[in-house]
Symmetry: C2
Subunit: 237 residues, 2 copies
């Protein structure tokens, strides 16, 4: 590992060879890696089909890892954890660790508008790279790469909280302490119908805690208020 | 294949052994197969976690099969074909071929209401069985089983039509012949707001073809009318 070693060494550009080292996987077919890093703005062939493949092998690998790691967790919780681990933002953060932005190929327009920093483009390219590993070397090889990339995330998972929205977290926390449920009250609505702004107060009566959240929908403002209230009571122990 | 052969032979009830023969896979752990066939109405443990695993390995295997079978098909079409192949109705039909209904374990209530015939219960059980193969013998073993089950479906796929809704099919067919697009007209609406019934006429002016479809929504009635119109012109060549 660490060097591509084969006769096609010269065909691997330096950033791509560095990517192989960071992945812990050396592509035997540099053209396949190049395709995985080619955004559709460049034309055809591009990485869309490989992304389809990569998304599926990622979902399968993460499903298996969670199944094994949490033998007693119900299916609904496994789904919630997986959704968090394979969502665009998580993939984007991994892609940044891999410095994928320095290796993606973009069309003129995307290049000018800074597409190499766009979360969706980098997340898709990461999936395509995983799809390329799967295609070239099979499931076990793809699983090895994915396991290494996800190890920091998998070891710090807390299945009680990860991927839950703030209102759910707050409610479960209060129920665990046998306290009254939060009350949400809209205290202000401003703006026209198409651009409304809401302020919602969240009140925890048993604890004498109040927070105010804001958002472009009532639901978003409630979540914002819940997030703040949860932070207050979590900090207070 | 065909007999379980191990020392736990006696633990495999006859319908389960027959299922193994139909799958072309013999479970080394009869308890795992038994769990895969246990509906949540029985209690815990049941097949919900295995279904989660099986759904993911099925998606991955079908993605790979389609990727290989259709080297030029865009990602959107691959997704559409896969959605058709892994949807409940398709799984249900495979489960019927396997006579899975004779092997599922249901709680009292589901048993009385004929749950062993319910498409969702049988489709979920099939996914759980695939998850159990994956868990016990790994990805390649699961892929072998899935490939055998899906071979009749995969060989007769027509990527131009499979999984497309009737309105899309009809529109593409007319566009291919450079004919005018269909016109949809609501000709009757009956029933109260919560239980409306729609009738929609589909008219193909260039061909002098008319059909009338019905449904509980305008969209459903349009699809029904399109399906009939498509059948008429497909039959007429």
């Amino acid at each position: 590992m660490g060097t591509s070693g084969g006769t096609k060494q010269d065909a691997v550009s330096s950033p791509q060879a560095a990517l192989g080292r960071r992945l812990g996987y050396v592509f035997r077919t540099p053209a396949l890696l190049a395709q995985a890093l080619t955004h559709r703005s460049v034309g055809v062939p591009n990485n869309e089909r490989l992304e389809f493949l990569g998304d599926s092998v990622l979902n399968c690998t993460i499903a298996e890892a969670l199944y094994q790691a949490f033998p007693r967790l119900p299916e609904g919780d496994l789904s919630r954890l997986r959704a968090h681990l394979v969502k665009q933002q998580t993939l984007y953060e991994i892609a940044q660790r891999l410095d994928l932005g320095s290796t993606v190929r973009l069309g003129e327009g995307e290049l000018k508008s800074g597409g190499f920093r766009r979360p969706s483009i980098l997340a898709d390219a990461l999936e395509a790279v995983l799809g390329a590993v799967f295609l070239e070397s099979g499931f076990e090889a793809a699983r090895d790469v994915i396991s290494r990339l996800y190890q920091p995330l998998l070891t710090e998972i807390d299945p009680r909280t990860l991927g839950k929205d703030p209102k759910t977290l707050l409610q479960e926390c209060l129920q665990g302490r046998k306290l009254a449920l939060p009350k949400y009250t809209v205290i202000a609505t401003t703006g026209e119908a198409h651009a409304q702004h809401f302020e919602v107060e969240c009140s925890l009566e048993d604890l004498g805690v109040r927070s105010v959240g804001a958002g472009t929908s009532r639901r978003a403002a409630e979540q914002d208020a819940a997030r703040q209230a949860y932070a207050l009571i979590a900090a207070g122990g």
